[in-house]
Amino acid sequence: MSIALLASNLVAAGTPASTTTTVAKNCTVAPGGTKVVGLCTSANSLHISVAYRSIAPMLILAIGALVLLAVSAVLPKRPRVGLYPALTSAIGGLALLAAVLQWFDGAAKAGTVEIGGQIFYDRFSVLLLILISIAVILSSLASDGYLRREGLDGVEAYVLMLMSATGAMLMAEAGGLIMLFLGLEIMSISLYVMAAFHRRRTQSGEAGLKYFILGSFSSALFLYGVALVYGATGSTQFTQIASYLAGNVPANTGVLLAGMALLIVGLGFKVAAVPFHFWTPDVYQGSPTPFTGFMAAVAKAAGFAGLLRVLTQALGTQQADWKPIVWLLAVLTLGVGAVMAIAQKDLKRMLAYSSISQAGYVLLGVQAATTQGSSAALFYLFTYTFIVIGTFAVVDVVQGKGEARTDLGAIRGLARRNPLLGAAMLVLLLAQAGVPFTSGFLAKFYVIQASVDQGQYYLAVIAMLAAAVAAFFYLRVGLLIYQAPDEAEAPVSTPGGGDGVFLAGLEPVPSLDGNVATAVLQAPPSGRIRVPGATALVIGVSVLFTIAAGVSSFAIDFAKAAYSLL
């Protein structure tokens, strides 16, 4: 029986590793010179020092969540308008402050492993902490208007958001697979609830349930991967896995690779890589819109943080094994995301597919498996956070009460109904399309550069062609924004008969007898759109950042600095 043989081989292989002394094993210096702080400081005792500063943002968020709950308990049933979002963003702001301070911390700059090896404290983590803090601030502000409009206001949403962010931070800082799993679950469980948060909308419940079932399934797969990697290498901590693999050739690579594969699947699910992406459109569409933005930003960032840690740090020696897998995932993700987005008629769903496609570019950075690639991926995530939260904030404003109008027709004539909002949406869309002078372009440039640097010309070309396909649906929306709200599509007739193609989804659907039905998009509601102040702020900040990071190189340098040591 092959499995039995496999297992026995494994035991034989694993034994030598476990015979080394615990202390020696735990104190192995990780590749790259990262010193393992914590266990080694007191070799003979089980005393583990807790470097609180390394987990300060996380703590702030977690404690903040609890405080928020407590505060809500003592406050009257209907507190002052805007209190909770204000508090939440304040907590996020504190976390951001802490994270920024961490950035300048020497330990973080040098890169250390804290708290018994469970926490990775380096600028890579810190950058993600900053990102997540920002996402919290922006999302909480963007949610305010939505929640009040939908009559869902209360403290719960904010607490969930903070808890979810806490989990994401844990993922970002995780020093080992177990911490990664823990963070993943903390984040995900909160997100499940957030997805299902709109009690009166059936779609919201459906989104929550689907997310929950599939998420749990992928978590189980991920966890099994953790167990297998643990079995093959004797540890769940990244540094130790890496040092073990650097020093030994695993006798049974099968277990290791199977574990690796499952880890990729689990994390691939979180980042919505094709073919593990099926939940994404349904969940993004069903979830309350501002939460969708949060989800797209934070879950994706945390998922990629995990993927980068696992693949490039823990399993860096197995590059040859996982690179082709990621290559294929990247191609599929880019292609399927872009192609399916074309066929969508719902704005949120289209953006969901678009976010799938965007994940493909980050996978390009992962696939490069270099410092440059990783920092490119980070930069991509960083810019995408602003873009996606801003975009969904606009969608939120446009869709109206009860998420009545999320179809493409709703956005038609946006520029007439609110010029600034239209312009903002245009910038955000162009950024996602990767047009120069937006952060989206530099992000694409960076990942493509990293990819080409590794000789992946074809991957790079495929990615850029996917961008061209993707440009179609971004532009289509951009065009709708600038159309008159009541503008009718001209009847389509050409000698070549190819007209409909470039208007796919927008155009009347050709019926079987070849005649073109003139039924087009529903007209949007008329009248000027009013944007709640907080949401306007979010959109404004997103747009400004998108342009600023596209014109100046500061954000790239920032991302580069985050990864310079690894």
């Binding site: 349930l209 689907k210 079932i213 599939l214 399934f217 992928s218 797969l221 049974n252 690579t253 099968g254 690779l257 199977a258 690796m260 594969a261 499952l262 990729i264 699947v265 691939g268 699910f269 073919p275 593990f276 099926f278 939940w279 459109p281 349904d282 094994d321 082709p324 897998i325 399927v336 192609v339 399916m340 987005a341 074309i342 066929a343 969508q344 396909v469 179609f472 050409t494 000698p495 070549g496 008969g497 190819g498 409909g500 193609v501 470039f502 796919a504 989804g505």
Partner: protein
């Protein structure tokens, strides 16, 4: 010598003034301005000619560079003039005849709403033509070459609201462009071989015997240039545009399509003689084209009913003689015939114009007749032109054609036979024309009644709106007697004076190059251009010449007698007017059918099938397949959780399978 600049500058100035002045320069003023400019140009040419005459024959060539046009790397082209016997000779008759015709036009075009536009084109034409002949390099000459083409386009299509005129103008231009193709290719080869277009670089060493050129290169350059010449001079196979070009006002036909522009090809070949000298093949090609054309066009001319189309085919035929002479190596004879032809053909056209004018734009000879009684000046003038063209001694045509035929005989009796046959035909069709127009009954009286309704054959575009308006207002004296029903009357003096001058020239012009008494001025004048290294000298014995001359004259007289006899009373002789000749051997119509039929269909197919469906279809197909893929993939997204989980499961299995393969290997 600086007067040379004036030759060019005056017509240019005239053209610019008329262009920008537009309609503010009114009716007669613009005409007189243009005439003055043309005359000034003529005077300047005479001055230059006199200056050159004062020099020894070996130094009668002066180059004057105006400024650099295209300096790129080794390519260096200037705007520059070359003043040598050949260019000045051409310039003389271009500006001279041009002046007369411009003057004639003042009367002819009177009252036309676009009066000044007409004279703009005339001056621009003279400018272009002198550039063509005076340029010191092929490329600058090409500028003039194209310039005359443009003016021809503008003048043929002068009455643009007639569709036939517009089509004819376009046809003329496009056909000439086919020739330009050859001209340009010759230029490339010239640059590749000589590194220059300057006559002084390309031709002078060859002419001086300092350099030689490979036969193949010479043949290629020559043949390509001849293609250009053939188009411009309306020779086989590109002659079809010229008859249609008769849509233009008659002075235009006289100036451009008879006397000057169409001889540009003759000039080009004469200029290129040093190269052609190295290619016997090219010489044969030129001679054959000439012989073939002069015969073919003459046959067609025999049956045309339109007064101007007869003359047009006659022009084609006569230029054929010039080509024949040049191909036979006797450039002087060709040029001699060119000059003589300029006189008598301009005369014929102007006289024909006066006839048309008198009959209110009637061009169909079958609706004319008996006009000798009404047109006391035009009639004798026409007769002089007729006799000159028919090569009846002692008029111009006899002498020059004699020279041409002598050269042809020396080249090959076959060529000569074609020439002689054509001479007979020429006399015949011209007699027919004279008979139909000036003798017989006054058919125009009845014709006027059903004016325009009668079944015209061919393209005789009788009085369409544009022209008849012009004609009527131009004739105040006639106009009062009703629309086109007044008696024919003689033209105003501005029109008759040129007729008289040209008639005199057609009678005595031959003295410019008489074969005897040391009167061969043209031969002597051109001698430095065609030394023995350019055109191998040959002589035809005097006896032979006598015999040849007598035979040719006999042919001419026979033709004349036949024509005069057969068409004394008759208006229509179906046996002598076979359809295939009336349709010009169906060549033109065949080409037109091919172009508008299969070729147009093919182009249409390319435009609307190949490009729209295939090439663009591919692009749209890619887009469509992307969109289609999206639509198909949407079906996978069923909304059922278990399907999603299954997808994740399958993905996982595939990844696991992949790693197991890797682990196994």
């Amino acid at each position: 010598m600086n007067a040379a600049y004036l030759i060019v500058a005056l017509p240019l100035a005239g053209a610019l003034i008329l262009l920008f002045g537009g309609r503010r320069i009114t009716d007669p003023v613009s005409g007189w301005l243009a005439t003055a400019m043309a005359a000034g140009s003529f005077v300047a040419t005479v001055v230059v000619w006199a200056t050159l005459l004062g020099r020894p024959s070996s130094s009668r060539s002066v180059d004057k560079t105006i400024f650099t046009w295209m300096p790129v790397g080794t390519l260096h082209v200037s705007f520059g003039l070359t003043l040598d016997p050949l260019s000045i000779l051409w310039s003389l008759f271009v500006t001279g005849v041009g002046t007369l015709i411009t003057m004639y036009s003042i009367g002819y075009m009177r009252g036309d709403p676009s009066f000044s536009r007409f004279f703009f084109y005339l001056n621009a034409f003279i400018f272009s033509m002198v550039i063509l002949v005076l340029a010191d390099n092929y490329l600058f000459s090409f500028l003039g070459w194209e310039g005359v083409g443009f003016c021809s386009y503008g003048l043929v299509g002068f009455w643009f609201d007639r569709d036939s005129a517009a089509v004819a103008a376009k046809k003329a231009f496009v056909t000439n462009r086919v020739g330009d193709f050859g001209f340009m290719v010759a230029l490339y080869l010239m640059f590749a071989h000589f590194g220059s277009f300057n006559y002084s670089v390309v031709l002078a060493p060859l002419a001086a015997g300092h350099a030689t050129i490979a036969t193949s290169t010479a043949t290629f350059i020559a043949v390509m240039l001849v293609l250009g010449a053939v188009a411009k001079s309306a020779q086989i196979p590109l002659y079809m545009w010229l008859p249609d070009a008769m849509e233009g006002p008659t002075p235009v036909s006289a100036l451009i399509h008879a006397a000057t522009m169409v001889t540009a090809g003759v000039y080009l070949i004469a200029r290129t003689a040093p190269i052609i000298h190295f290619s016997p093949d090219a010489q044969w090609i030129i001679a054959s084209i000439g012989a073939g054309t002069c015969f073919l066009a003459a046959t067609i001319a025999c049956v045309q009913d339109d007064i101007k189309r007869v003359l047009a085919y006659s022009t084609i035929s006569q230029i054929g003689y010039m080509f024949l002479a040049e191909g036979s190596g006797d450039y002087q004879a060709g040029i001699y015939h060119t000059v003589m032809h300029a006189f008598f053909k301009a005369l014929l056209f102007l006289a024909a114009g006066a006839v048309i004018h008198a009959l209110h734009d009637e061009q169909n000879m079958k609706r004319m007749g008996n006009l000798r009684k009404y047109l006391p000046i035009t009639f004798p003038a026409f007769i002089v032109g007729f006799l000159a063209l028919a090569a009846i001694p002692p008029f111009d045509g006899f002498w020059s054609k004699d020279e041409v035929l002598a050269a042809a005989w020396h080249k090959s009796p076959v060529l000569w036979a074609f020439g002689v046959a054509a001479a007979g035909l020429t006399a015949y069709y011209m007699s027919r024309q004279v008979r139909l127009v000036f003798w017989g009954k006054s058919r125009w009286e009845t014709a006027a009644a059903d004016h325009g309704a009668a079944g015209d054959t061919g393209h005789s575009a009788a009085g369409d709106t544009g022209h008849s308006v012009a004609g009527d207002t131009g004739h105040g004296s006639v106009g009062e007697s009703g629309h086109g029903s007044g008696a024919p009357h003689e033209a105003p003096w501005t029109m008759t004076v040129p007729l008289v001058i040209l008639a005199v020239a057609s009678t005595f012009g031959w003295l410019l190059n008489a074969d005897f008494g040391g009167l061969d001025f043209i031969n002597k004048w051109l001698a430095p251009i065609f030394p023995s290294t350019v055109a191998t000298p040959f002589t035809v014995s005097t006896d032979t010449k006598w015999v040849l001359g007598i035979v040719a004259t006999a042919f001419s007289l026979t033709g004349l007698a036949l024509g005069m006899g057969l068409w004394r009373k008759a208006v229509s002789r179906p046996a002598l007017e076979p359809a295939f000749l009336a349709h010009a051997w169906y060549i033109d119509e065949g080409i037109a059918a091919a172009v508008s039929g299969p070729l147009a269909r093919m182009a249409t197919r390319f435009s609307f099938v190949v490009d729209a469906t295939w090439v663009d279809g591919l692009v749209n197909g890619v887009a469509r397949s992307a969109a289609g893929a999206g639509r198909q993939l949407r079906r996978v997204q069923t909304g059922y959780v278990r399907n999603y989980a299954l997808a994740i499961g399958i993905g996982t299995v595939i990844v696991l399978f992949y790693v197991s393969v890797r682990a196994g290997s």
